[in-house]
């Protein structure tokens, strides 16, 4: 009898998982019963999310960063476009809003994270997309591009409401690019840039936090730490306003760029036993099997694993996840393990970028990647900037297709990293702090 694998979500994780599984089972028919792969998504627009950072500055256009989801999948994979009603994990069935039921042998949850605008008072009230914006979705990034174009100096505030968020370095990159953008336009001297974060520094981990903190200082970007946004208040005229913290602190702005709270997909909350209080899927951080049931797996932004919500994480998780699904269907023990490997370029403006590489145990350190000779880590360089630009090609043509990318494997390389002495760094062993 045919085994059916249902993958919820046709983004980075769902697409690369589907293509990897398809490639495996096409070549290993003799060992396995036939396998049918179905991918479900509510729309057919696959957004290259790293590109959203560039849209507000006119460096990327919508047409360049969106492609049809179904075209990224091998044609033997069925693509179903519908909203997910709920998953009945006891009956191993996905119920779609359109009425179709999809019984499965293995379920993969890859539905990412959604932006929970409603959880912050006043965020989408008066002034939304006029003086308060986000660049974390395409409509927001596009509206912000128009606003920045008209911006003639004043106070720009970039604010992260609460963790976790997708790509935790993106708000910092936005600050760095804004510094470059206003300099190019000749209005940097009358523009004040402020980064307000709930963290106690520029970043979570000590070595990277110090390096990124110095960069903010160098670029004269104000840093407001441990700021927990309680409300966004816009002036009566609708122009500018202030962020009000729960502790009473206020950060005034002419233009606010807010990264809203994130949650897991809404259907997770409607699926008994599948998610946590924020609709993320509790998942084993090594095997990527969900806690809900042995035949449920999850990857990417949809999970609660203690590492960054980022495409590189999803890519590395995909290798492990696919191996473990194959093992599960073979009734073999799951023993492929994910080490929390993440790898991100951090755009710093003026044609340069940093690179960071880390996992559950090792924080982002300086040195070189992937070995002693390679791209510089935690240090600005043009090579890293070109790497970031080139990555979009790699994403569409290799990563989504589930092909291995030479030199960038699931396990984090340790060669080339400079491990700090204990007195320059604390707390490096926990996956998340």
């Amino acid at each position: 009898m045919t085994k059916r694998i249902v993958i919820l979500g046709g983004g980075t994780g769902g697409t690369l998982t589907a293509n990897r599984l398809h490639r495996h089972f096409r070549h290993h028919n003799s060992e396995h019963q036939p396998v049918e792969i179905i991918v479900v998504d509510q729309d057919d627009h696959h957004v290259y999310q790293p590109g959203l950072l560039f849209v507000p500055f006119g460096l990327a256009q919508q047409s360049e960063i969106v492609r049809p989801r179904h075209e990224q999948l091998n044609r033997d994979i069925e693509f179903v476009q519908d909203l997910i009603g709920h998953v009945d994990i006891h009956a191993d069935t996905v119920h779609l809003v359109g009425g179709r039921e999809l019984p499965y042998d293995v379920l993969v949850v890859a539905t990412g994270a959604i932006l929970a605008f409603d959880e912050t008072e006043g965020l989408t009230g008066p002034g939304w997309n006029e003086s308060v914006f986000t660049f974390y979705d395409l409509p927001g990034a596009t509206a912000l591009a128009a606003a920045l174009d008209k911006f003639d100096g004043g106070k720009l505030v970039v604010n992260v409401v609460d963790m976790p968020i997708k790509c935790p370095v993106a708000p910092l990159e936005f600050c760095f690019l804004a510094d470059w953008y206003f300099t190019e336009r000749g209005i940097r001297d009358r523009t004040e840039i402020t980064y307000a974060t709930p963290l106690d520094g520029a970043f979570t981990k000590p070595v990277a936090s110090a390096a990124l903190g110095s960069l903010l200082e160098e670029k004269q970007i104000n840093l407001v730490t441990e700021f927990n946004t309680g409300a966004v208040e816009v002036n009566a005229e609708g122009l500018g306003g202030k962020l009000v913290g729960y502790d009473g602190r206020e950060v005034p702005f002419d233009l606010a760029v807010v990264v809203p709270m994130h949650s897991g997909a809404a259907f997770v909350g409607r699926s008994e036993g599948l998610g946590d209080d924020l609709n993320f899927v509790p998942t084993n951080k090594s095997s990527l099997q969900a806690n809900a049931k042995p035949n449920v797996f999850a990857l990417g932004d949809a999970t609660n694993v203690p590492t960054s919500k980022a495409g590189s994480v999803t890519h590395f998780e995909g290798e492990v996840l696919v191996e473990n699904i194959i093992r599960y269907l073979d009734h073999r023990e799951l023993d492929s393990t994910y080490d929390g490997h993440a790898n991100c370029f951090i755009e710093t403006g003026f044609g340069k970028a940093l690179l960071i590489d880390f996992n559950y145990e090792t924080e982002p350190l300086s040195g070189h990647f992937p070995a002693a000779v390679g791209m510089p880590l935690l240090k600005e360089s043009r090579m890293n900037h070109l790497g970031k630009l080139m990555f979009q090609w790699v994403y569409w043509h290799a990563l989504l297709q589930g092909r291995d990318i030479p030199g960038i494997g699931a396990d984090m390389p340790t060669r080339g990293k400079e491990v700090p002495t204990p007195d320059t760094s604390t707390g490096t062993t926990q996956g998340a702090t």
């Binding site: 959880e119 609460d162 963790m163 976790p164 935790p168 963290l199 979570t204 981990k205 441990e226 927990n228 309680g230 729960y246 502790d247 709270m261 209080d277 924020l278 203690p306 590492t307 960054s308 919500k309 993440a342 604390t426 926990q430 996956g431 998340a432 702090t433």
Partner: protein, 105 residues
């Protein structure tokens, strides 16, 4: 790591003042720590939050974030900040004798 004395008993704390062993905690210690943090008396709503944090910690291995506290403890985020002005998740976790809550990178 440092050793200090709360309610007459020696207690080991990490560099940020969180209990190394949550089982070494007693309610009397919480009263003393709260006073040192500027909370004169731990009222019933304070105890609702502290007890909830300890329950979550022992069930899930980590204390809840402010957002989860606001959604699940029955006390709103605004009120949480009134009760624990120095930041509910950290301050309440310390007074509740549990480890520092893990956020995410």
């Amino acid at each position: 790591m440092t050793t200090t004395t709360y309610a007459g008993a020696p207690v080991e704390l990490d560099d940020e003042g969180f209990f190394i062993d949550p089982n070494a905690w007693t309610p009397a210690m919480a009263e003393e720590m709260a006073k040192a943090d500027g909370i004169d008396t731990l009222t019933e709503p304070h105890w609702t939050v502290l007890n909830f944090m300890r329950k979550e910690y022992f069930e899930k291995g980590t204390g809840p974030t402010v957002r989860v506290l606001g959604k699940t403890s029955g006390v709103s985020v605004k009120d949480l900040y009134l009760l624990f002005p120095k930041g509910p998740a950290k301050m309440a976790a310390r007074i509740a004798g549990i480890h520092k809550p893990k956020g995410c990178i």
